[in-house]
Symmetry: D2
Subunit: 292 residues, 4 copies
Amino acid sequence: MGKSVSVIGGDLRIIYLVEMLAKDGFNVYTYGLEKAEKLQNINNVFNCKNIEECIKKSKLVISSIPLCKDENLIKSPFSNKDILIKDVTKCLENKIFIAGSIPQDLYNLQQETNFEIIDLIKCEELAILNSISTAEGTIQIAMEETDFTLHGSNILILGFGRIGKVLSKMLNSIGANVYCEARKSEDLAWIETYGYNPVPLSKLNDSLSDKNIIINTIPSLILDENRLKLIKKDSLIIDLASKPGGVDFEIAKNLGIKVIWALALPGKVAPFSAGECIKQTIYNEIKDKKIF
Amino acid sequence: MGKSVSVIGGDLRIIYLVEMLAKDGFNVYTYGLEKAEKLQNINNVFNCKNIEECIKKSKLVISSIPLCKDENLIKSPFSNKDILIKDVTKCLENKIFIAGSIPQDLYNLQQETNFEIIDLIKCEELAILNSISTAEGTIQIAMEETDFTLHGSNILILGFGRIGKVLSKMLNSIGANVYCEARKSEDLAWIETYGYNPVPLSKLNDSLSDKNIIINTIPSLILDENRLKLIKKDSLIIDLASKPGGVDFEIAKNLGIKVIWALALPGKVAPFSAGECIKQTIYNEIKDKKIF
Amino acid sequence: MGKSVSVIGGDLRIIYLVEMLAKDGFNVYTYGLEKAEKLQNINNVFNCKNIEECIKKSKLVISSIPLCKDENLIKSPFSNKDILIKDVTKCLENKIFIAGSIPQDLYNLQQETNFEIIDLIKCEELAILNSISTAEGTIQIAMEETDFTLHGSNILILGFGRIGKVLSKMLNSIGANVYCEARKSEDLAWIETYGYNPVPLSKLNDSLSDKNIIINTIPSLILDENRLKLIKKDSLIIDLASKPGGVDFEIAKNLGIKVIWALALPGKVAPFSAGECIKQTIYNEIKDKKIF
Amino acid sequence: MGKSVSVIGGDLRIIYLVEMLAKDGFNVYTYGLEKAEKLQNINNVFNCKNIEECIKKSKLVISSIPLCKDENLIKSPFSNKDILIKDVTKCLENKIFIAGSIPQDLYNLQQETNFEIIDLIKCEELAILNSISTAEGTIQIAMEETDFTLHGSNILILGFGRIGKVLSKMLNSIGANVYCEARKSEDLAWIETYGYNPVPLSKLNDSLSDKNIIINTIPSLILDENRLKLIKKDSLIIDLASKPGGVDFEIAKNLGIKVIWALALPGKVAPFSAGECIKQTIYNEIKDKKIF
């Protein structure tokens, strides 16, 4: 079968990924990317007539992150075709299927049709690498939406997970006064160790009034009405938490506090790097499988 | 005369400055800022009928940076009136006149009309503080104009003056591979000491081909045709050098290299902080004069 | 009973702790610290005649870290007395007993004699805070044992746990070229994210030959004969791993490679800070118990 | 004459320099280094019988930094011989003579005997590179002489010259709270820009009482009796200023404040790196002379 990969659907990150895989010497067989101009003049990237032909070319089948547009269709913004999930799955026998947020019913299919699933959204490595793009995207938004410099401003980060760690490091080194909220005493010890200002959840309310920017990474309603009322009107809130988000947007609006809800930043602010991260993660995930 | 300041013309930075001076307890008498809404409801900011009335209120007279719109007029974007420089100067007796890029003929006037001039553009302190906004503005542009993260990218900075120093520090700490070009062996020693990659001018040409972003701070044509031809087509060039700039824009365009010519960033990306810097500089400039 | 604490035995860190607790307003009742001069003139520190008297004064009983000198005795370098563990435990009814590396049989005693145990060595918070002192102590040793600057030198850190994280951050910011070895792809992703050079275990051998300093934090024999033979004779190895250590010391010696085995650094290089960390951890551990 | 260098006298840094020059392919002819064991088995390092023979071998003649032991003799700790300065100068015709702190009378000699002088102590590049070793040496001393971690401690640096700049960067990134004293408003603006706490000389006295470590780089008596009385008894003072130093040592002693007067650190803490810096500086100094 040679050194080949099949790719079905996906957004700009996947297009960069295809370009990189081709550059690394793979023959890349694509379906559902026909509108991606930059792929059209690459010798070892092939546009397949149909799903079956595309998939049978390779052991490895890569698809969209997230996989689904809706319960039936695969996300494929660079295609005019509707790509049915079931049309893909029925060809997956003995394949390794790599995509993001893969729904449970595909896992159920693994028994009958024998194939392997790698869900990139579950890969810690990718999540960490993506936090760089997310952090930079957040900094870009903070710069665009304020009339002051980050240097010398008071910035509070809610949550000290992956994004909190990367963001606090970058903001601190730009010269901001960085405050990090966390629940666990371990996280607070890390915040202290890294030289930021630790804010235990119990003291959060006392810490809201003098912040110029507040960035939330916690996927639950932490900035509720009571807390929003403690925040300066001219503060900027950036919410990085996936739906339903961590801010009561309605209340914030009524209070006249600007809130930017920024989701899926890696694909938006740095699709090339996002593609690189996906590539690196896939290489690490398959390196023990000796398929090439 | 009490604790008062007169302000004539100026852009958004001056409006923020007026707001801060008022907050610090000064009575601020303004002329040529009547379109600045945010000043209209501040108790101790007064909109004067004419220049003479405005100036006679204070020992300190602050005007635009730069002072001149053309050889006759003062820059006053927040006014519909034409403010003649000579109408201001004729009232300056015994005053301290603070503005930016003040033309020579005002210095000549000092003899006859007895007044003192402080040109903010000549204040090293302000130039240093402004380099923070310039650096952050440059980072914002770099983030907006690229599809990759600054983290992990190769960035070359031409010139290791004030802006080069601040910019290299910030970019390095975000995770970029920072290269700094300089002529003097002292500067190259500093670049090494700070942990960046020193690029002597003599080796510049060998260092151009693998850079993702090149930022120029040198006010002379350093990126000429020969050098531009050594740069990757998909590199981004940001030129921070004042007119005529350091890049042959015509050639770059023909070569298909994207160049952003970014001037006067502080006032654009962080007018509030720019106002703060101006305030701090003025306070330091006058602190020995015991006028308040 | 008032705001009081009982302290039995312990080293210099405990003496600093007692001093700080007294400063914070506690009456501190001590036994087995009679040789600590700096405690003798503090008003609210009391030297007790015997264990029973000492313990009954407080709800909180703090002892040595580690607790035991041998299976029978409590570690008490600042006392001439032998302090039997069983003489302490028999008085612990209804007390909270705080010490380090507390042996299992004390846990077994909890049923009959009703008391609570807090083992500080099991507190993640303390371990993190201690990693600062360990990192600084390691840097001090590296500076003392070499004739070159850390700035510009190649330093490899084995293991990316707590100490690896803090140490790499400090060394990197001093200007060293920092390489970090790790097994897990997540850790390698973090190393990349923080801007150090990731070294997968599989590639460790290729990375040994050009390092000036190698610091081990892994508690298993990672630097065996094969690997030691790949290291430059004039390299410095610092082993931070507790017994049996991560280096074949015999072989290293024969090869003429200098190895420093540095254990328990916090108490040695920064006993004051170590005491502070213990205090902060104890305060956090008991804050929900409402005993004061 | 081939690629050769002559070296006369000098300390451990010069010995490392000779080793490096030999490694770079120079034939190195030495006089007054006969006790340096590590040079004895290097093929292209030659121990000369007398000064004249040594010097005539090369265009380039390198000697001690500083040059003089007293008004007549060259500093040569690795020799049992007395090396008279005049015995060297009389052979220097048409040579380039490189050493440190070269006395005026040698400059006067240049007319009659025609030779060129390069005083390394006057080379800004070397001074900058040496500030790295000085900064690391200072950090080592601070770690050795305190029982607390630099992380989290309050450190005041007097003077923001070369050493102040490098030291504040390193200490800040280790996690200390860094305060920098300076006179000029430009320097204070830089201190602010780099994210440290600026202390104008006029406010120095208010800033002394809460510092754990005070490091002086100013070559004049700044810590006099009045200021020393404002410093905590348990503070550590490190004076890096060359004789007569910046501290009233007598008063400090009476007040019971520990003062370490640390001079010529590069040669002591990192002679290898010091040798490297000397080499790099010499290479840059002669590169335009086309002598090799």
